[in-house]
């Protein structure tokens, strides 16, 4: 993943700006939830909500909206810039090669890389990079905040998350291996298609069309079986993850509900816990898929890393 580090380092100012806005965004969300909790508790105790409290809530909501817009813009800009740097680095690598090295390049495999891996990486950067960072910030901040509000409820309802995390870590490694194998088979198959064009005269002169068809079908079969194994593995492991990931919310409703009945916690706090559980257990629930996507991204990065030249000096944009 040194390539990702280099790419992010090149645009460090944009990355820091985006991360700072992520932190500000979650701080505002927690502030809004705190206000909401107070409002629910006041309503529950038949109290009167003052105009100052309503104005303060409206200002917080508007600030949340504004910061969400800025976050989306800055993170989108950063990701697009990083993806552009990656493509330029790929192009730069080929311009720095000597003629014999260029002559030995398998253009089919390189085109496959450009069309598949680099496209996938660009899509990942655009759709997931800051969403990952945002999730991490949300998870940490919300978890700490919940611990301050009700440590017992926080620890109990998140207990299964520890096991789910371990399980997802294990499954993601298995999924990653399967993804890597299917990508290799895919590159081999695409490389073979390019070779067909090169060997065409020999193929005609030596009447080798049948032989090549058999070889190509072998490559196709290898890719097919690798893809089937990948999808089977993903489906089996991730379906169990999805079931396990429901446990935290069930525990929250069970334990939190009991605490409200006992009077050891307020209805406003429980509402906020349920409202924000997505930031903790929700992120956990999505983790198997996210990790699988990240593993694929990581495998893609490993494959293209030798073909990308990134100059480490920072660039102004």
């Amino acid at each position: 993943m040194s390539l990702l580090k280099k790419l992010l380092h090149k645009r460090i100012r944009l990355v820091i700006a985006a991360l700072s806005i992520c932190i500000l965004s979650i701080a505002l969300t927690l502030c809004w939830n705190l206000q909401l909790s107070s409002i629910i508790n006041i309503v529950n105790s038949n109290g009167i909500i003052t105009s100052g409290r309503i104005i303060s809530a409206i200002v917080t909501i508007l600030a949340c909206m504004a910061i969400s817009y800025i976050l989306s813009m800055i993170s989108g800009w950063t990701c697009e810039t990083v993806a552009h740097d990656l493509r330029m680095g790929y192009a730069e690598h080929f311009t720095s090669l000597s003629l014999p090295e260029i002559e030995n390049i398998n253009s089919g495999e390189q085109l496959s890389m450009l069309q598949n891996e680099i496209d996938d990486i660009s899509a990942f950067l655009y759709n997931n990079l800051f969403s990952f960072a945002d999730d991490a910030v949300k998870f940490i901040a919300t978890f700490i905040w919940m611990l301050c509000l009700n440590p017992r409820l926080t620890l109990l309802f998140n207990m299964p998350s520890v096991f789910i995390t371990l399980y997802t870590g294990y499954t993601s490694r298995i999924i990653s291996k399967a993804v890597h194998k299917s990508q290799q088979a895919n590159a081999w198959m695409n490389g073979f298609a390019d070779t067909l064009i090169t060997v065409f005269p020999v193929l005609r002169l030596f009447d080798a069309a049948n032989f090549i068809r058999v070889q190509y079908n072998k490559a196709l079969d290898q890719w097919e079986s690798a893809k089937v194994i990948e999808e089977n593995t993903r489906a089996k492991l991730m379906s169990l993850s999805a079931v396990l990931s429901c446990l935290p919310l069930l525990l929250l409703v069970l334990i939190g509900g009991t605490q409200v009945v006992n009077g050891s916690t307020s209805i406003g706090t429980l509402y906020v816990f349920i409202n924000l559980s997505g930031n903790v257990s929700g992120i956990m629930m999505n983790m198997p898929g996210r990790i699988a996507v990240f593993r694929k991204f990581s495998a893609d990065m490993m494959r293209i890393e030798p073909y990308v030249s990134i100059k480490t000096g920072r660039t102004r944009k």
């Binding site: 070779t195 060997v199 005269p201 020999v202 002169l205 009447d207 080798a208 032989f211 070889q215």
Partner: protein
């Protein structure tokens, strides 16, 4: 007559490459065609190999005029040998059923046997993408072994000795001698050399074929 060419002309679109070529090569005779880069040597060879169809004129190889049938009568060895991404054995047989004896004979004749014996997987060794796992000289000899295994009566050599270096040239020349023994040979090259002997030498210029001796004396 092994090769009979009469009034052959060929053009890529509007660009005329060959004009009124006439050529007769008897069975077992070997000829060499020399010409500068881009003069149409490879095009002529492709027409003789049945890779291109003659539009004007006649190309007859071993009595065949149909390109599909001509291809069965010829073996071609090129300057840059093209290998399939498969094993050495598959590259020699091209998927056709050949006995172990036939393959061994082709390997011996192409000076490959010692090298193959030193490989852990022997004939089943994969040559890699575009023959990337073997050296240029080894790839050239595999291509020659493939041509020997085909056992066609006509052998066409396209700059087959142009890129040889000191270490590999002896083995490749020996392999080419085995391939061309008793066959009709047409070799094209951009420069004359004395690596192999030929019955006649031609000069190709401006799309026309001249007898080299006559051409020299005219100059």
């Amino acid at each position: 007559m092994s090769i009979y060419v009469e009034n052959l002309s060929f053009a890529y679109g509007d660009k005329q490459i060959l004009h009124g070529i006439n050529l007769n090569v008897r069975n077992g005779e070997s000829i060499r065609i020399i010409g500068t880069s881009g003069c149409g040597k490879s095009t002529l060879l492709k027409l003789l190999a049945g890779l291109y169809k003659a539009r004007d004129g006649i190309v007859e190889v071993q009595g065949e005029r149909n390109p599909d049938k001509i291809r069965r009568q010829v073996s071609v060895v090129m300057q840059n040998p093209i290998l399939f991404p498969a094993s050495i054995k598959d590259n020699i047989t091209c998927g056709h059923s050949k006995s172990t004896e036939e393959i061994k004979r082709a390997c011996d004749a192409a000076q490959l046997s010692d090298w193959i014996a030193s490989l852990p997987d022997g004939l089943d060794t994969h040559v890699g993408e575009r023959g990337g796992k073997v050296s240029g000289g080894q790839a050239q000899r595999i291509a020659i072994a493939r041509a020997i295994a085909k056992d066609a009566p006509v052998v066409l050599l396209d700059e087959a000795t142009s890129a040889l270096d000191g270490d590999t040239s002896k083995a490749v020349i020996a392999a080419l001698e085995s391939l061309t023994k008793g066959k009709t040979v047409v070799s094209v090259s951009h420069r004359p050399d004395d690596l192999m002997e030929y019955n006649r030498i031609y000069w190709l210029e401006g799309g026309k074929l001249f007898d080299a001796q006559q051409y020299k004396s005219n100059l």
